[in-house]
């Protein structure tokens, strides 16, 4: 089924078209939800709520960008809204003692191949991974993130810096990436 047919069918509340659209985009969208969620079950709940919004707001889609991008934005906002309902989230997003968090070896998932980067992201503290997901992967600006999460822009920046640093450490320890070589000049390290 073409995208146009799916869209027109969804606008008519046609179940077949809705299922076709769902089947096409749900695997990738579940991947998005999974990066924000605590576990697969929570991710599926987020996906479910996200797609209900997608179908109920389909008439607002203006064909001005990729359909996947439009769906993705709705799903991401749904994830954030669900996270914000969780009390633990509000506690973790304003972490002031982030420097005291240490990643222990057993906290890092021992997995191989495609999932490894995503699982390492998921092993970050909740506040860190949320900001990192939004900034580095979803492409939101710190200003937008601050608005979405009800935090200061500076908080978003510092969360991201710490998240990135922690993730680098994890990826290096898992040997997924290697330490960057220090730049040197004639007299030694810069």
């Amino acid at each position: 089924m073409t995208e146009e047919l799916m869209l027109s069918g969804c606008l008519r509340n046609n179940a077949t078209a809705q299922e076709a659209l769902y089947n096409r985009f749900s695997p990738r969208m579940l991947g998005v939800c999974y990066r924000f969620a605590k576990n697969r079950e929570d991710a599926e709940d987020m996906l479910q709520e996200g797609f209900i919004k997608v179908f109920s707001q389909m008439h607002q889609y203006r064909n001005e960008g990729a359909l996947e991008g439009w769906i993705r934005r709705i799903v991401v906002h749904t994830c954030i809204n669900i996270l914000k309902k969780n009390k633990k989230f509000s506690d973790s997003i304003d972490i002031t003692n982030a420097h005291s968090i240490h990643i222990r070896e057993e906290m890092i998932p021992s997995i191989m191949q495609a999932k490894q980067v995503v699982e390492c992201i998921r092993s970050l503290p909740l506040g860190y991974k949320t900001v990192l997901n939004l900034y580095a992967i979803e492409g939101y600006s710190h200003k937008e993130i601050a608005f979405m999460l009800d935090i200061e822009e500076s908080t978003s920046r510092s969360q991201y810096t710490r998240a990135k640093s922690m993730l680098e450490e994890i990826l290096i320890r898992k040997k997924i990436i290697q330490k960057p070589k220090k730049k040197t000049n004639f007299f030694g390290a810069v």
């Binding site: 179940a15 695997p27 999974y34 599926e44 980067v117 992201i121 997924i176 990436i177």
Partner: protein
């Protein structure tokens, strides 16, 4: 993976890998979406649920062979209507401000509001009609009593606030990081004097009532820095809140009464730092009261050794005329959610079981025997008894009488519930309980060895037994309460009678459970 690694490449790597990542959701997700989008065409899971519950009822019916109970079982089938739910909006309902009006009276205001009314009421007989608006929405209070400065509930105040009334903050509290307030509208004659005096008390009420100085709290300072990187804004806001308000009351200074951003930031910070410590068990623990009207059945067998009696020939259930009876269970218990879908439960329960036997009243007592087993050898023997009722099986009774085999029990059910599915405010559970039970009373009518008479012998009832309950139910979330309804089967593991009785009776009950649960 790349050996050379730079920051921008790192972000690129993250994005690439994350975008490549996808997972296939379970079918449950699409079914839930489908049901939500097409409520008139529910997914077959509802049909399966109905089938499951109907099967339970049917099994109970088939096990009795008594057509007389058909109507009773059919009456239970109306639970199927509970599967269709309307999308409720409890949030909207709960967020309406609660308005309580106290008419002009000589009674004192409620104790909790006494301090707030101290400025208004000058002597003990000087009480006035007042209205308390208990806001269920967060408010930002200004340092004045002008009704126009009270945010979020202007509609309500407009309807009750007449010119000249005094609007007074009487109670403030913090919930979910937000400030809530109860506002009193007091009908007072001398509006000018009172309005001025209530200005200061308003601010004091809001801040000093907690007897804490948030500025001195190190945690608060830390959060101030976080929320206000400039560092000097919070203290300024607090200072303004605590400062005398005479300037604000001066003519032409009304604009200064509005909440400033600094005050708002301080309040947010204060609420953030003073939020109640979350108790882990809170929200997971709930108490339940329930009652289960049930139809009681029983299965009779015999345990005979070394004795050729009618007991040993064929199914004894076909040699007596028996009918199911009505019983019930009622109890209270605690439910604790150990996981998102799993809860464990324990409680105390009262059970009443009843089973009917059709008999014929004898004109005079007759001698008969009941079959007992020797505890030492296991061999059966007949024990002499007297009887006043006879078995009417295959014979028309001259003086019909119904004998009731009853038990009164106290149980301590321990079990679990598992959430099979949920949608909006409706959840479907299945569960089971083990119920150690103490039988503290009842009646027992035992069939005689020759199957011709009944012998009444309450002492033959065993004091302790074990029951198993299996249930499935729908849970409806109704505000702060949860209402449960669903079929339940309760089965007694051991015989009702003591070990030396050769008759083995194992009753079971099929009922409809109604429960009400509330969280702590």
């Amino acid at each position: 993976m790349e050996n050379e690694f730079y920051t921008d490449e790192f972000e690129q790597l993250l994005k690439e890998k994350a975008d490549q990542f996808s997972m296939y959701p379970s079918k449950r997700v699409w079914h839930s979406i489908y049901n939500n989008l097409h409520p008139s065409r529910r997914w077959p899971s509802v049909v399966i649920s109905l089938f499951f519950i109907s099967s339970l009822i049917l099994i109970g019916y088939l096990n009795t062979g008594e057509n007389s109970i058909t109507r009773q079982i059919n009456s239970n089938s109306n639970i199927s209507t509970s599967f269709v739910s309307e999308k409720a909006s409890p949030e909207k309902i709960s967020r309406k401000p609660e308005v309580v009006t106290y008419s002009k009276t000589t009674q004192q205001p409620e104790l909790q509001y006494n301090n707030a009314f101290a400025d208004v009421i000058t002597n003990e007989t000087d009480f006035y009609a007042y209205t308390v608006v208990k806001s269920n929405m967060p408010v930002y209070l200004s340092a004045t009593t002008a009704s126009t400065d009270i945010k979020t509930i202007p509609e309500t105040l407009e309807t009750i606030n007449n010119p000249g009334d005094i609007v007074q903050t009487v109670n403030t509290y913090i919930r979910s990081n937000q400030i809530f307030a109860d506002i009193a509208v007091i009908n007072k004659k001398n509006k000018t004097t009172i309005a001025k005096s209530s200005v200061n008390s308003n601010t004091e009420n809001m801040i000093v009532s907690n007897n804490t100085d948030p500025v001195k709290s190190p945690a608060a300072d830390e959060a101030n820095t976080l929320l206000n990187p400039a560092g000097n804004q919070t203290n300024t806001g607090l200072a303004k809140l605590n400062a005398p308000k005479e300037n604000a009351d001066a003519p032409g200074n009304e604009d200064k009464r509005a909440v400033t951003n600094e005050e708002k930031a301080w309040m947010e910070n204060y609420a953030f730092q003073n939020k109640p410590v979350a108790k882990k068990w809170k929200g997971r623990l709930g108490y339940q009261v329930y009652v289960t009207p049930a139809v009681n059945y029983r299965k009779l067998t015999t345990k005979v050794k070394g004795s050729a009696t009618p007991f040993a020939q064929g199914d004894i259930n076909h040699s007596i005329s028996q009918k199911p009876g009505f019983g019930f269970e009622a109890g209270v218990g605690l439910n604790y959610a150990v996981a998102k879908r799993l809860l464990v439960k324990a409680g105390v329960q009262f059970n009443y079981t009843n089973y009917n036997i059709a008999a014929d009243r004898a004109t005079h007592p007759i001698t008969t025997t009941i079959l007992l087993n020797d505890p030492a050898t296991g061999y059966s023997y007949s024990s002499a008894r007297t009887s006043t009722t006879s078995n009417t099986f295959n014979a028309a009774p001259a003086r019909p009488v119904t004998l009731h085999n009853r038990t009164y029990q106290v149980s301590l059910p321990v079990g679990f519930g598992y959430k099979l599915s949920s949608q909006d405010n409706v959840e479907w559970f299945a569960g089971a309980t083990l119920q150690p039970s103490y039988y503290f009373g009842g009646k027992a009518h035992l069939i005689s060895t020759d199957l011709k008479s009944y012998v009444s012998d309450p002492s033959s009832i065993s004091s302790w037994n074990l029951n198993v309950g299996i249930e499935t139910y729908m849970n409806f979330k109704l505000g702060t309460y949860n209402f449960q309804v669903g079929p339940q089967v309760r089965y007694q593991v051991n015989s009702t009678y003591k070990r030396d009785v050769a008759l083995i009776e194992k009753p079971y009950a099929i009922g409809l459970k109604f429960g009400l649960t509330k969280g702590f």
